[in-house]
């Protein structure tokens, strides 16, 4: 290999090395971005789930509050008075 050919070969090697490093950097960036996106999505889902759960709890509480208002003050007396004749 001539001197000039050797120089060109070395330059090509450096370019290839640079190219590999760049590709690795891009891949790392991509993975980091993907991980950040997944984490953000997880946080959003957890937050939505928490909001949904809170809303469901609130709905249940409202339902139960209303049911409570329908009950008698003396359940024992209510149940005893609910005496029926036997039917079919």
């Amino acid at each position: 290999m001539s001197w000039s050919e050797n120089l060109q070969h070395q330059a090509g090697g450096e370019e290839r090395l640079h190219g590999v490093q760049e590709a690795e950097r891009i891949e790392l960036d991509r993975r980091r971005a993907a991980a950040e996106l997944a984490a953000a999505e997880r946080r959003a889902a957890q937050s939505a789930l928490a909001e949904e759960e809170a809303a469901a709890r609130e709905r249940l509480q409202r339902l139960d509050d209303h049911i409570e208002s329908l009950l008698s003050r003396d359940p024992q007396e209510f149940v005893i008075r609910f005496l029926q004749t036997g039917g079919q």
Partner: protein
């Protein structure tokens, strides 16, 4: 000969008067009837009724049945929508008109609640403000008494004889189905009855009250299979299968599956299809055992030694129904029934609480269990029983089930406007529409009526009896719309 599927429900309601010490149940039930605000109605003609006749032609059973049959407190009315409203054994009772498919029956059943609710409101107008009548669509009073929700299915007369007669009665094939179906259509109950060991919560209201396998009686020693043979139609062509092992349902899906699945199995048997052989070793012991286990894991013994859960038994019947429908010839509504049935069964097998917006017993269990934990109550607490009773209160403003339904917390099969129409209008494709049309269109000439006949006043002569012997025959405009089972 296979006949068109026609079915109906008859439901006895419990009642209580708030602050009404001294108000008798019987007198209140009769007062409710007297305050029925439905304009289109005539007195019920009970002259042709014979509830003491036994399908097995057993004279001894017939005599016992005749003794057991309680005198009707009041025969009540035939209503303009083709239904009957009356008082039986001290309970207000509503019998739906004949329906050709399960969605129509869900509407008719719910329309019955509305009719009784209107009676209740009318009567309450005349009572002191603190004495409010409440109507409870349940089956137990927690003091040892039960009252019913009976189902009626029209079948061919020859097929009916095969159900009860011969060395291998077809009805025996249905016993494991009737016993296990409580996991689908039980109404749920806190505690137990009839001397059974007290479970915390059980699947069925009525399971503790069945003490015989076969019998004519309905008010004591209740049988899993009732043999009452009272067709209310042309007995040479049709019979009515009377099923007394069922709870009163609030949830539309429970009612829909209760009736749709049995109608489908009867269609299969009538067409000669065979049901899976799942004969139970001891049906009377299996019924409470299944009912007392809300996890649906309890296995019961079959006569061939296998042990299956109620869900597994139901799945075997559902698979057979699917194969039958796949071969063609099933009613058009069968596919939807099978699909819902399968979905419900798979959820029951997986985790029953997934059905906390679908089936009565799971809706109720979810509610009372939450309440119990929140308030730190024992399962024996009266408050839980009160919730259980008030779940079935048909007052749209005070009933717990209706509160859940109006909040969108339970599934529906049919819309409220269709139910409201069913208060006035009969189902279209059965003789109920003919009965209704004659009653409403006769300008007051119809003076009494029953399932199978109307009495019409004629000018200058005795009343004329108009026979309605064919329950499958709708008015001319809808004739033929009730589907034959082939």
């Amino acid at each position: 000969m296979a006949v068109s599927p026609v079915c109906g429900l008859e439901t006895e309601y419990g009642l209580i008067v708030d602050a009404g010490a001294g108000c008798s149940q019987e007198a209140t039930a009769l007062a409710l009837l007297r305050h029925c605000p439905v304009a289109a109605r005539v007195p019920w003609d009970s002259g042709a009724e014979a509830p003491g006749r036994d399908a097995r032609d057993d004279p001894h059973a017939m005599a016992a049945g005749a003794e057991a049959a309680a005198p009707g407190c009041d025969a009540g009315y035939l209503l303009g929508n083709g239904a009957r409203l009356y008082v039986d054994c001290g309970h207000p009772e509503y019998s739906t008109p004949e329906c050709a498919e399960p969605v129509a029956l869900v509407r008719a059943d719910r329309a019955g609640e509305l009719v009784l609710e209107r009676c209740r409101r009318e009567l309450n107008r005349f009572l002191p403000v603190d004495q409010v009548v409440r109507l409870i669509k349940n089956n137990v009073d927690y003091q040892g008494h039960s009252y019913a929700c009976h189902e009626n299915y029209l079948v061919d007369a020859g097929f009916y004889r095969g159900l009860f007669g011969g060395p291998a009665p077809l009805l025996s094939q249905l016993v494991p189905f009737l016993v296990s179906r409580i996991v689908v259509c039980g109404a749920g109950k806190v505690g137990s009855d009839n001397g059974r060991t007290a479970p915390t919560f059980q699947i069925s209201q009525r399971a503790d009250f069945f003490e015989e396998l076969l019998g004519l009686q309905t008010t004591s020693r209740r049988p899993i299979v009732n043999t009452r043979d009272e067709p209310h139609c042309d007995p040479a062509r049709f019979r009515r299968l009377h099923v007394i092992i069922g709870d009163s349902n609030m949830a539309q899906v429970s009612t829909y599956l209760k009736v749709g699945t049995l109608q489908l199995l009867l269609a299969m048997l009538e067409e000669g299809a065979s049901l899976p052989d799942l004969t139970l070793a001891d049906p009377l012991a299996a019924l409470p055992a299944i009912s007392h286990d809300p996890t649906c894991r309890q296995r019961v013994e079959l006569s061939d030694g296998r042990r299956l859960s109620a869900v597994e038994i139901q799945l075997a019947f559902a698979d057979a129904a699917q194969r039958f429908a796949g071969r063609g010839g099933a009613p058009s509504w069968a596919g939807e029934v099978i699909e819902r049935w399968g979905t419900v069964l798979h959820k029951l097998a997986d985790e029953p609480r997934q059905l906390a917006s679908t089936l009565d017993w799971v809706i109720k269990l979810d509610l009372v269990d939450r309440w119990r934990q929140r308030k730190r109550l024992a399962w024996s607490a009266a408050e839980l029983r009160e919730i259980d009773i008030r779940y079935h209160d048909i007052d749209r403003e005070a009933g717990i089930f209706y509160h859940l339904e109006s909040a969108g917390a339970v599934d529906r099969i049919t819309a409220e406007d269709a139910i409201l129409r069913a208060v006035e209008d009969p189902p279209s494709a059965t003789r109920a529409a003919v009965r209704s049309g004659l009653l409403r269109g006769a300008g007051g000439r119809v003076i009494a009526g029953s399932w199978g006949a109307l009495l019409r006043r004629e000018d200058g002569g005795p009343p004329r009896r108009l026979e309605l012997a064919d329950p499958t025959l709708g008015p001319p405009a809808t004739a033929g719309t009730a589907e034959p089972r082939r």
